[in-house]
């Protein structure tokens, strides 16, 4: 009996998302912060590459890592009509399995994006992969198909011809899907065990790419959905609105984030909201120093780090006042991430800047993989996972 319990506990430990994992877009809780140390500062296509796997197609989705497995999606063939979900051993890089789907929705999109734009999400035992075509599949960590939905068949007007790119996120046993478009627009809460709808609630009818942020308000788990015109907190169990803030020129691509009692809403200007005891959000500050483009801001030790057109800006999270800004050049699609006191900023050309954070920033390295790099890096355990146009790199220091 004891052995059985130990085995069960071990299985739970192995299979569940846990510290060190990077289970969704922008990592644990969507914060963009990894609990990792001993990461390499410098790398290249040959230096500090633990493994590199060739991918069967394009994609701008990030890899996710949990339970010793790294998952990534891709899209291939003419007009990206073939969709791929791949699973690798996170340490050795061995391909564990690959499953393919034929796209059931339209595949027209802006050339910069891809049908493999949304980042998958994993709980360590399953991986949930959404594509811009509306194809949504859940696989076990061993590659068994748990369920599958062709969302565009259920809701014909949900896709758009720029390309959906917002990623699904998990809140307990509910998978949250932002399906916000000009034609049909709604948020969906899906039962992770069956793929059936738990709730469906209408959203602003406009094309939108924001991945929701899950947090807690007054004892309830809430998902923050943001568009150019609003940020709204939904009860993840029921889909009921907990609070909503209407704004102008909020970001339609970067995700909101949370620090102390403030919700940081990227926009032009960005807004910090404090939700009062009455449940209504109040504006704490606004800042034009933090403008919304593609990348989501990351909050670390009371400071906000956000990408500008030409570099990175650091703001005081409590006041919105700028502390410093650093030039890095241009061309950012990926969101910055933080680990071990360092900021990692991936540029479209393939270089990743590593910046030591502090009262003054210090650029430690610019590591060029010489290949298009649009996906946000993933950092899990002692490794950085970079998804370029054609490859998945596992970057780690030699032991």
């Amino acid at each position: 009996m004891t052995r059985l319990l130990l085995s069960a506990l071990l299985l739970l430990t192995v299979h569940s998302a846990r510290a060190g994992d990077w289970p969704q877009f922008r990592g644990p809780g969507g914060t963009g912060i990894a609990d990792a140390k001993g990461l390499p500062v410098q790398w290249s296509v040959t230096e500090n590459v633990r493994w590199c796997a060739e991918l069967p197609g394009r994609g701008v989705s990030s890899p996710v890592v949990a339970g010793g497995r790294a998952y990534v999606t891709a899209a291939s063939t003419y007009r990206e009509r073939r969709l791929h979900v791949l699973c690798f051993d996170a340490v050795s890089g061995e391909k564990m399995w690959e499953r393919q789907l034929a796209a059931t929705g339209p595949t027209l999109c802006h050339p910069k994006t891809s049908m493999a734009a949304p980042t998958p999400v994993t709980d360590g035992r399953h991986v949930y992969a959404l594509f811009a075509t509306g194809d949504l599949a859940a696989f076990t960590r061993d590659g068994d198909l748990l369920w599958y939905r062709a969302l565009q068949r259920d809701y014909p007007d949900i896709t758009n011809q720029v390309g959906m790119a917002a990623s699904p996120v998990l809140a307990g046993d509910t998978l949250l899907l932002p399906l916000e478009n000009a034609g049909d627009s709604f948020a969906l809460g899906v039962d992770v065990k069956t793929g059936r709808n738990r709730w469906k609630t209408p959203r602003r009818r406009d094309i939108n790419w924001v991945t929701p942020f899950v947090t807690r308000f007054r004892g309830k788990t809430a998902a923050l959905f943001q568009t150019a015109g609003d940020i709204t907190a939904y009860d993840t169990d029921t889909g009921e609105i907990l609070w909503s803030y209407k704004g102008n020129h909020l970001g339609s691509i970067p995700s909101p984030t949370f620090v102390e009692d403030l919700v940081i809403v990227p926009g032009t200007p960005s807004v910090a909201l404090r939700v009062g005891a009455d449940g209504n959000p109040q504006v704490a500050w606004k800042s034009h120093k933090l403008k919304a483009a593609y990348a989501s801001p990351v909050v670390y030790q009371g400071r906000i780090y956000a990408l500008t057109d030409i570099g990175v800006a650091c703001l005081d999270a409590a006041t919105g006042q700028e502390i410093w800004r650093e030039r890095l050049g241009t061309g950012f699609s990926a969101s910055p991430v933080i680990a071990d006191g360092k900021l990692y900023v991936a540029k479209e050309g393939g270089a990743t800047s590593v910046i030591q954070l502090g009262d003054k920033p210090k650029i430690l390295a610019n590591n060029d993989l010489k290949e298009t790099l649009l996906a946000t890096p993933a950092i899990a355990n002692d490794a950085i996972y970079l998804r370029t146009e054609k490859h998945l790199y596992c970057i780690a220091a030699k032991k």
């Binding site: 393919q100 034929a102 068994d144 069956t194 059936r196």
Partner: protein, 401 residues
């Protein structure tokens, strides 16, 4: 497990006769009953995930059967909708992956036989081809040369790609005439724009001209009437008089009460693009209708394939085939696809192209293109007869696409 299957799916009417035939031929190691019932479960998945749980059990049961069940999976794809086909595809892929990882063989002969039988689903044949290629590196050379006119779009594309490589090789060796002939052979099978573009460019460098619009089956001659009102995008769902029947000599009250008439427009764009800003003058918040009389030599199933970055509706012989209420998010050949049937003789094709009121520089385009092709994307035979209007009377002149 089987009892559960029978309770949830008591009859097997969804199984087509071909599947039963394959079932009878299965090796003894494969449970025909389990396989048939499990496949039926996958084919029964409905809207919004209805049937997902039963399908997940069935998926595992099928995968447990191993490689012997692959022909049955392929056969089942013949009768599967897009959702069931993906359940089947992933089951087959899992079997192939696990079989090869265990060092066991795939049923190569059965796969090749399935690929060669064109009556099967194109997607299933391509899947069988992919599996076969994993164990037989010579399969492409053996199979693709005979697939330039294949009814499977993916296999035909593979065949065209192989023919292109051959043509390029001839050219690199300095054999221009052989290269020209090879490119012409490739063009005869090519339906995808990227491949056609490559071939046309190569042929033009060899001194050959290609009528691209005819190759694709673009409709080139239209009557156009505009503007009807689309203020606040409301015109998209307003059925203006042309939707109730086209009279080429009619005079309509358009936007702001202005009298408007049909005008004849012929596009010489290789991809059949009609630029409404150029033909009618730049306007915003408006609806245009484009009408074409299509003469078909026979009754034939077709696809109407359109491209437009404007709100679009397509009607054939008075029936709405397709609509998409989306603006300025890109335009591509074959962006919008609707299936229909052309009747023998005269057919009336009507396209509604809506322009919204966005003011951004990137939101000013107002254009469309339409082609008539088969399910693979190859042009179908049709001619166009110019229709007499009040404005530009023309009579009796026929044009092939």
């Amino acid at each position: 497990m089987v009892e559960e299957v029978e309770r949830e799916f008591p009859d097997m009417r969804r199984l087509i006769s071909g599947q039963w035939l394959v079932l009878l031929l299965l090796p003894a190691s494969v449970s025909a009953q389990t396989s048939a019932e499990a496949l039926a479960r996958l084919q029964a998945v409905g809207r919004e995930g209805a049937g997902n749980e039963a399908a997940a059990h069935a998926w595992k049961a099928i995968v447990r059967q191993g490689p012997a069940v692959l022909p049955l999976i392929l056969q089942a794809m013949n009768d599967a909708d897009a959702i069931a086909a993906n359940w089947l595809r992933t089951a087959g892929d899992a079997i192939v992956e696990r079989t090869l990882a265990a060092g066991k063989p795939l049923p190569a002969e059965a796969l090749e036989q399935f690929i060669r039988q064109r009556q099967h689903s194109g997607a299933a044949r391509r899947l069988a081809y992919e599996w076969l290629c994993r164990i037989d590196a010579k399969a492409p050379d053996r199979l693709l040369p005979g697939m330039l006119q294949d009814p499977s779009p993916e296999l035909r594309r593979d065949a065209v790609a192989a023919a292109l490589r051959q043509a390029r090789g001839r050219l690199d060796q300095g054999h221009k005439e052989a290269a020209r002939a090879a490119y012409r052979r490739a063009l005869a099978g090519a339906c995808d724009k990227d491949q056609v573009d490559l071939i046309v460019k190569a042929l033009e460098q060899l001194g050959d001209k290609v009528d691209v619009a005819a190759h694709f089956g673009f409709v080139r001659q239209w009557l156009i009437v505009a503007p009807f009102d689309n203020h606040n995008d409301a015109g998209f769902n307003s059925a203006y008089p042309p939707e109730k029947g086209v009279d080429p000599k009619a005079v309509y009250k358009g936007k702001d009460g202005k009298e408007i008439r049909w005008v004849a427009v012929t596009t010489d764009d290789p991809y059949g693009v009609v630029n409404l800003n150029k033909e009618l003058g730049k306007q915003k918040g408006v609806v245009a209708y484009a009408y074409a009389a299509i003469e078909s030599p026979k009754e034939q199933p077709i696809q109407v394939r359109a491209g437009s970055m404007n709100g679009i509706k397509i009607f054939l012989n008075g029936q709405e085939l397709y609509h998409r209420d989306e603006y300025h998010h890109g335009m591509e050949v074959d962006q919008h696809i609707a299936s229909a049937t052309l009747k023998a003789g005269r057919n009336e094709l009507l396209v509604k192209v809506c322009q919204n009121e966005q003011t951004e520089d990137w939101a000013q385009e107002w254009k469309f293109q339409v082609r008539l092709c088969d399910a693979v994307g190859a042009a179908v035979p049709f001619t166009q007869r110019l229709v007499q209007t009040n404005n530009l009377p023309k009579r009796g002149k026929e044009a092939k696409p």
